[in-house]
Symmetry: D2
Subunit: 172 residues, 4 copies
């Protein structure tokens, strides 16, 4: 069985501003949270996204988003966002996300809680003039590490379907 | 050849608040624009989304978003958003979007300008307690009409690949 | 009696994304609308804010906001935003806003509808490095004109209390 | 000298979505942060804003915002938001905020860092139909406590000018 890439967990508290009159979180805000998860994952890897942009003239705009909303998120809930790098090849990066609401014992998935959303975002590496370029080598090395399994994390992965085919080409 | 559903066009002016420090529109804001296009399309059909919600206890949350970003949108640009209903079956609706920047002659697609993004959103019909239900008959009839081609609009469609398979099942 | 500066009117449709779970527009979004009113006022005067920024290295960040919320705005309402320049002296500009919901005869102010919010924003003229500078002369001339009363607009003004003291110093 | 009300501190990380093309945080987003500070302050006091709304039919809409922007906030900065209740009388509450960027020794205020913004928001207590009401007694008692000085916090306060006149009437 193929090893899983490392998962990075971020905690998010739902803001009032993020709700809409349906009484749940407005769907576009999930994309903002995924950005938070992505940046925090990179930070945990020692990868300063802000410096990549300001010092290396390198930005990672989103070129594709695919998101499935499974259950509503609500005001003031404290959520768990799991982020992982699922592909890195050439100028293209893909991240996978699982947004979860931790639950008391007996509700949802015992280990992780209720799955609220799953998503994949695709990014291209460009300079600030939006011309395609490659990642600086030091940053690429950090990302290669993120594609490796964490020794302490043999957990199966809900995003693996999408991830598996990507990392076959991209995990090298 | 299968007929195309009707296309509804909305104009949008990019707000300063919608940009980010990359100097382009932040990607989550496109989802807000798609919502505008959807509501304006329904309004053009005589379908008051606000009344559907307040009088019929019927809301249409997004359960899936797929969006491809082709070219950046920038501050103060006046954009064209083309929206169409691409499927309506049971409690599920799908809308397709093409976001375009009109161009002077000689740039981009002569007829429509530069394509900035393409997307599909999937919605379920639920009541305010988020239990699945079906659309009130009067509203369903309006949507059935939107799946029909406009007599005056034989234009080919960039979203057709996705649409075609959906309407095969859903266009009846 | 002192003459009133010209008033510029913008129409806004409330987006679903702008509501919150209280069922009304989230208060921070009014500031985004005021920005729209400001830019549209400048455009009506032939003043391209986007070019001021990209060609003249001149931006107008907000340094102070004062806003009173009088009545809630709701989803899908079509609102009227009245904007006027109420002071322009040196590197400081002040704009006043009245947000209104047009009403059928007999509700609210006969002429203008229900007042939803009033606000003043203060701006400084800076370059992109955020160093204080003055407006290019051509733009300053346009703003001086905006402080003049419109010949066809002798309407009294709900924002006049705040405006009057400012224009005494700034209207010259 | 009048004692100071307690100060509650919240940490915020600037999100990419919160920046604009000026390369700094868009000004409307500060209002969203103030809401976060307010709710976290209430939570620290044992006051569950979410339950106030869902169980007590009691909401606290903003009726006035006054905000001064002193220095720009930038992407990825970790900021400190100080929140305090500065008045509570009848159905009206006022909160004061100081947003700060902690600095290395030698930059800005030694104790607190650089002041980025100061603000006051005014709220009315209403039910969900937006009719004025008073706070449930248990919640009012918690707020009365927040107006008291913290024994361990004799720190002078930049927001005190505004606060002082309010608490003279409201601190009882």
């Amino acid at each position: 069985m193929k090893p899983e890439p490392r998962t990075f967990t971020t905690r998010l508290r739902v803001r009032y501003a993020e709700t809409d009159q349906m009484g749940v979180v407005y769907h576009a805000n999930y994309l903002i949270w995924f950005e938070v998860g992505r940046v925090e994952m990179l930070r945990a890897l020692g990868f300063a996204y802000q410096r990549l942009e300001s010092e290396e003239d390198c930005v990672l705009p989103v070129v594709e988003v695919n998101c499935r909303y499974r259950a509503p998120a609500r005001y003031d809930e404290e959520l768990t966002l799991e982020t992982r790098l699922i592909a890195s090849r050439g100028s293209v990066l893909k991240f996978g996300y699982a947004l979860l609401r931790p639950e008391p014992p007996g509700i949802g998935d015992a280990a992780r809680g209720t799955l609220l959303a799953e998503a994949v975002t695709t990014h291209v590496v460009v300079d600030r003039s939006l011309r395609k370029r490659s990642l600086p080598a030091a940053y690429a090395a950090v990302l290669a590490e993120a594609l490796m399994p964490a020794p302490e994390d043999p957990m199966p992965d809900r995003l693996s379907g999408d991830r598996r085919s990507d990392t076959e080409q991209g995990g090298g």
